[in-house]
Symmetry: D2
Subunit: 337 residues, 4 copies
């Protein structure tokens, strides 16, 4: 931590600042420049830098360490690769997750699984517990839905990913799912994240609608610090002023995160754009930008979908897209899994 | 719901749209204008309007009902007033909540309660479970903290408000608190909101960092629809591009919400700005804008606070501010409680 | 400027960085800490800090001087007070500007001026050149409008403020106006700002829709550095994700700017909210937060206004508001002018 | 325009609304539904919908026509293709613009032009007038710079694009440039746009930092409505809360704009991200998403660049990227020009 004093700060102010940080356990190194004094602080506990910024004569406090440690590339220089059944995410692999937004019936999931498996998909998605903005909307099939997705996934040898909304659902999710998804609205549900740090299945953490990349990595840190090293991140659009898409897909997050972290970064173009005809171009763009996976909504009959049909691809559209994805992945030296 | 067809939409497209909505249980009323056809839809279930927007020839779908019902002024024209011990929020009352960010010790809380009560405050705040961005930060005193806040509140006849982070904490919170606070990060923790709809203590719902006012009211609707009519809203800053304040306090939300909803709207200037010297001007502005209450962080010794000391007022600063608030409240015909 | 090296940066990297900055004219002061090396740089020319951040081994570069100098309180500790005819802005004065969005006719302006003067207003506004999003909208009366506003202002002894859109309009504006307003969309029209630095009438600079406070002060710096010291700032809402108001009025900007700059800060609640019934609460909030002035749209017959009638107050509404503003100003120790 | 009345609106209110719109020249078509009345309005002049929304009993007003006409695909269904010398933008062509941020010297431009031409680039960029946030920064070489870029472009048979900042520069720009660029900060400099509508060289309009897609198209409409049909759009990042990139590149804007408009959409990944190592992934992503062109900063010696060196590619990096772009363009059935 560096404390930059104001140019006009006097000796008295400087001494008070030093006493303050030493009281917090830091060792202070003073460097008097021609214009202003800078105090470097080493050791000490985590501190709210605003506490120092409010002291007399202080201009600014700069933290020179990141809040996340286990999630950083400094800690682990090599890419984390997550393998689940035949799927692989991270490193040289681009894993494709596809399936309906919501599990509606065995017929629907059977049809989806059969098509997706035939195209080459290795992980199927489907929600059993649905976070809905309105209390009056359909809230998901619950365990009955989980039974269905597991049954069809087993039949076609697919891995299962589904969203967990709450700590009490953990045992249920572990029974039926291979990857547990934390939704955007739960990205900072810290109690849930702590519990997910104690299990040993991969966790996919969606980026919150207004979460900075640093906060997103801090949420990953919650899981990692509990002992679960299998964490994947998924960009799904951030909230901006632009109304023509549901959210603004922040594809720059891919190279940004991959530089500072070893964790796989996926992209969900379906929720980000909210519109079927934007899903293919954004999927291809994400792969071209180097993402480690995609999560795409595909429904056998989008026009009848209970939820988010408008952003679901038909199996035929998805099949065409899958072919293009494989070609682009090849250019960026990735293998689709 | 109104479906506005494109100017060039043909008869065939129009018929397909009508069939589609009738299948969903709507009655369609067609109105052919000189330029384009508009189809009014009555009855029917909740529907994702994008499903219709994707049909051929459709230009736009406009919902003409709000998602929230119980939270709207149409449903309940008169202001909801919430009374807890001697505190009152809503209608002609501006309730003041004050206290430290975090419960740290009995000594700290005793000192805070004594000062606040002497100034005239009727509700004390203090966190026992702290949502922290970093897993390595102090996470709160838990039940020990709740015992302390209840003890000092009882001594000075204050109401207690504290933040609940998770369903399993409900029984504990009910034992020690008069008002349960849902934090900004949990504003869309729908499972938690549903459970809070089943209790009969007031719930204060903070606005999420990137929540629209409509989403905020939908979260209130979750609690109201469970049967708990004692809901208060609290604006605490939204996330924008401006880095000089922690968040951007959206004071316009006060008159906006008060026009469309009967629920009390409070303001938390401490978290919004994140800086002590901005708390007084923003508190006074909030009262001038007609808010129904304030939640202000006050710490007997901010420089020693474990958490958010930088945004906490000293008791003396708060005392001065309280006097100014009373004067401004008088101008907008409100009574401070 | 401080260059913070990465913990693992080696001697070679450090030397390269030092050579680089010395080549740019800086003197480097090296401070080797236990964890990492920090290089303080003094002197040297303005430099893009990213150029250094891209060098090997560099973690972060922190600028420790602000870009604005003449606009800062360090340069001029006392409040700038701007006096125009009977109006005063800044210091202990809260100046009120009122009038229609657009100059429409002499009858309209005469009626407006007569009412406003009788209430106590000392500065009248009215647009002659209108920046409109659509090329098909009314673009203003031009010089004919300026003649009208000057005529009625002279009759009632009011100062005139009007918006300048373009360098070529300067001579015209100087002839008819006492204060020249730079609109939000022109806040970074640097060529225009430079020219306005050469005149000696007050300039009011509206904050751009997505301008940070620092950028806003840099725009003021353009005018100040040209030699014109009479600059006022006006907050008028920033663009956020919230759709229920036209923009989000950032009232925290008042105490933030007043701490770091000596320039007067005004607020335009009319453009910020875009809705008449939000103007009064936001005006009162702005005064309570300590603003140095307000710019409010008032139209003798808002329902017939060519432009922005929806956000214009009637003279009666404004009269009531003016009375409340005077009372609140008194509480914050300001005098309404 | 549709006026949706509130459910409880009475006959009196409805009649007043009808009278109001008829006075503005509209013909009203009343449609009384079971729940509420909807009034369709045809004809009439451009109107601020808030004026109607403020009338008693009105719930919402929905405009059913767009503000832009000439820019829309309804007006011109086929893609506009812009050809300048050997470059092509739009339709099946992806035009590549490359070159330094700022023209610094003939040596620099000669070196850049020689390398770029050898790689296959057909349009060179370089700024002669620089919009700088600080009045103390380098403001460009002016006409001397334009002479240099024209000279080297002629030698290598390249088209020239450069930024115009102000109406008075038009004659100069026309003399030396093939394409005139309107910067993000000038996107709503309506006077400038109007003048650019009167010339007959292509105009590239960068998206403002906080401009919605609709506003961006309205700016294009200003140029188109003046008679200049050669307009290109360029996405260059929007302002959001995320600090890790300079701006957030909104690649979804590509498919969104291409659906509603016939104009070519380019992408500037250099200004959007502000960081050299993010330029290649974002360029490839933009091409995969179907953009009609790229504008990339390339400097023969980025480490010595006067301006924005941190976001400039070296010629070698650019050469590698160019090869990848050609391959991805092929997958999306575009030809690089």
């Amino acid at each position: 931590m560096l404390i930059i004093m104001q140019p006009q700060a006097n000796e008295n102010s400087i001494e008070k600042v030093i006493k303050f940080v030493e009281k917090q356990g830091f060792t202070a190194h003073i460097s008097k420049g021609e214009i202003q004094t800078v105090i470097g602080c080493v050791g000490g506990k985590t501190i709210d830098k605003r506490n120092i910024e409010l002291l007399d004569g202080v201009r600014e406090v700069v933290k020179i360490t990141t809040g996340y440690k286990l999630a950083s590339r400094t800690f682990k220089p090599l890419d984390t690769v997550i393998e689940v059944k035949n799927a692989k995410f991270g490193g040289k692999y681009t894993g494709i997750i596809a399936g309906p937004c919501t599990i509606e019936s065995e017929k629907q999931m059977e049809e989806a699984a059969e098509k997706l498996a035939s195209i080459g998909v290795k992980t199927i998605r489907g929600g059993a517990f649905k976070p809905r903005t309105s209390p009056y909307s359909f809230q998901g099939m619950g365990e009955d839905g989980l039974k269905i997705i597991k049954k069809v996934a087993d039949k076609y040898n697919l891995a299962v990913i589904s969203e967990i909304m709450e700590i009490s659902q953990i045992p249920l999710m572990l029974k039926y799912c291979d990857i547990l998804q934390v939704g955007a609205r739960n990205m900072q549900n810290f109690n849930l994240l702590k519990e997910l740090g104690l299990i040993n299945k991969p966790i996919l953490i969606k980026r919150g609608l207004s979460a900075t990349i640093e906060e997103w990595l801090m949420s990953a840190e919650y899981v990692l610090s509990g002992g679960n090293s299998q964490v994947m991140l998924c960009e799904r659009g951030i909230r901006t002023f632009e109304p023509m898409t549901r959210n603004t897909l922040d594809l720059s997050a891919i190279p940004v995160v991959k530089k500072i972290s070893h964790l796989p970064v996926l992209v969900d173009p379906s929720h980000a754009t909210g519109l079927r005809d934007k899903v293919a171009p954004m999927s291809m763009a994400a792969v071209a930008a180097g993402c480690d996976g995609l999560e795409i909504e595909v429904h056998p009959h989008p026009e009848c979908a209970i939820c988010d049909g408008a952003q679901s691809l038909t199996p035929d559209d998805f099949c065409k897209l899958y072919g293009d994805i494989v070609k682009i992945a090849d250019i960026v030296e990735k293998e689709v899994k």
